[in-house]
Symmetry: C2
Subunit: 311 residues, 2 copies
């Protein structure tokens, strides 16, 4: 049989052809390095999380930085894992009689911070344009070419500063995709502190959008959470402490010695290569794909992020 579409662009070929100035370095203060206890085979398990930039969920993101600087998560654990849902870590305070005391000065954040109003988004976009010299990112314009409005979850979905976002006429919010990290909480209107966090390990649970604070995403090592045994207790909490995965440490990359500091870049949302990349993600037409989908959902685009040598 003769292969078809030989040599047609793929997501990988577009990334390989991208220019180095289309990639944006992620600041060390936006990177969280979580070291889990070694696996059964003694292999290291490091999970790297990128925190959301302003204007999104900044009260919670600041709490996460405060907790990391206090080394609060050291000695806590991953205590809940639910298949096609989340892996959750922290103190598991709900399950315990003696909750670990939280650092002082955590923000109490209201539900209104789940979304960012249009005016604040416009300011953030102007700010981005001024700081990068980019022509700016118009919400309607910057998204997934051609098929942006086709979502059951929002009027429009698009990318800004490397993040998948959703919007209606009033506000914009960060989306729950595979590997998104959010703030676990009790029933609403409790909004959580940021001490208990979860990462999505299944199909995008978009019903959580605007109901839970997204504070970032796992950009390396999500498999160390996704492969953990599923909990068999109530709501997927492990039935005994023996099931927990201990957390050795969680550090901001900015706190690590230079030599241990990981460095990552994302492909700029307003770059020509990102536009080509999303178009091909929505219309695969290479040796493997005979029928282009004609679209792609915001979580299936998978923003390109790469580790680079420390410099």
């Amino acid at each position: 049989m003769l292969a078809r579409n030989v040599g047609q662009p793929t997501p990988a070929s577009i990334l390989a052809a991208s220019a180095s100035d289309e990639w944006v370095t992620i600041a060390p203060d936006d990177l969280l390095v979580m070291e889990l206890a070694p696996g059964a085979d003694e292999s290291a398990r490091e999970v790297v999380i990128e925190l959301l930039p302003p204007p999104f969920s900044q009260g919670w993101v600041e709490n996460v930085r405060t907790l990391a600087r206090a080394h609060w998560w050291d000695g806590t654990s991953v205590y809940r894992v639910v298949d096609n849902w989340v892996a959750q870590w922290g103190d598991g305070e709900d399950e315990r009689a003696d909750p670990k005391p939280l650092p002082e000065r955590l923000n109490a954040v209201p539900e209104s911070e789940y979304t960012v109003l249009r005016a604040a988004m416009a300011a953030a976009e102007a700010n981005w344009a001024a700081s990068t010299g980019s022509a700016g990112v118009a919400t309607e314009d910057s998204g997934i070419p051609e098929f942006a409005p086709s979502s059951p979850y929002a009027r429009t979905e698009y990318f800004f500063m490397g993040w998948p976002l959703a919007a209606d006429d009033r506000a914009t919010w960060p989306t729950h995709c595979y590997a998104s990290v959010g703030v676990a909480r009790d029933v609403a209107p409790d909004t959580g502190t940021g001490a208990e966090l979860y990462a999505v390990i299944g199909h995008a649970p978009r019903q959580l959008d605007r109901n839970i604070a997204v504070v970032g995403r796992v950009i390396e090592g999500i498999e160390h959470l996704a492969t953990l045994p599923r909990g068999t207790g109530e709501a997927g909490v492990y039935e005994t402490r023996a099931g927990h995965t201990p957390i050795v440490s969680v550090r901001l990359a900015s706190e690590l010695p230079e030599a241990r500091r990981p460095r990552f870049e994302y492909l700029a949302s307003d770059s020509a290569s990102f536009k080509r990349y999303t178009a091909v993600r929505g219309n695969r037409s290479d040796e493997f794909y005979a029928v282009p989908a004609g679209g792609v959902d915001v979580c299936n685009v998978q923003v390109p992020i790469r580790r680079v040598a420390a410099g």
Copy 2:
């Protein structure tokens, strides 16, 4: 803080209130039971797969039955696992110098069977209506209330006989969701035999729709595949045989002794409870959810399937 929306319906409360005659028994000839070698802790690992009914991918589904009856998968293995993508099993023939001989009389299935033309769908719907006494399931009518057309992947998406489907003006096709099982293949126009299968273990890879044959879905035990270590060789294949997970046996439930035969039911797509369930999946408004999403994608609906006592 006072909880809101106390007592509002949830997916669980709707299922609890459903009538027993809204559930449809899955035929033993449509169930595949895969027994993996025990885990590191000696625990049993059984994966149950439901095969797609007519008119979908029937050439491949028949091959899967033929392979199961030949006990062809016994002694093969899960040889490829890619995070947020698939776990794949079979003989891994591409990786080996001595492929395991296939049974005789496997169908060679053309790409055209990836989709079902409108006329064949209409016949299947009429057949369903006649056999169940149901008023039938009109494509435009049976789907997710209110928000069915909002998909980047299809003109419409809906449910029929318990399966999430997508359609354009010409044809209907089964969708790739979390836990979907498909036929692995080489580059197109190769369509695969059904001997090498994969299960989706991440966000719905809808770009595979119409490009690969969906033959079923894992309805129990997907965690035994989703928690496997990710392969580190090319395309996620394990670098050595030591990484493989051996498959002890794969059997059609109809071949098992009565006492070992699992029994499952799905909630009928044309039942009142299923309509209520999809509406609530798209508009969560209970103690936990303050802001209803206003919609849900076809893969996030998660068709209710339950194990029932053998009887």
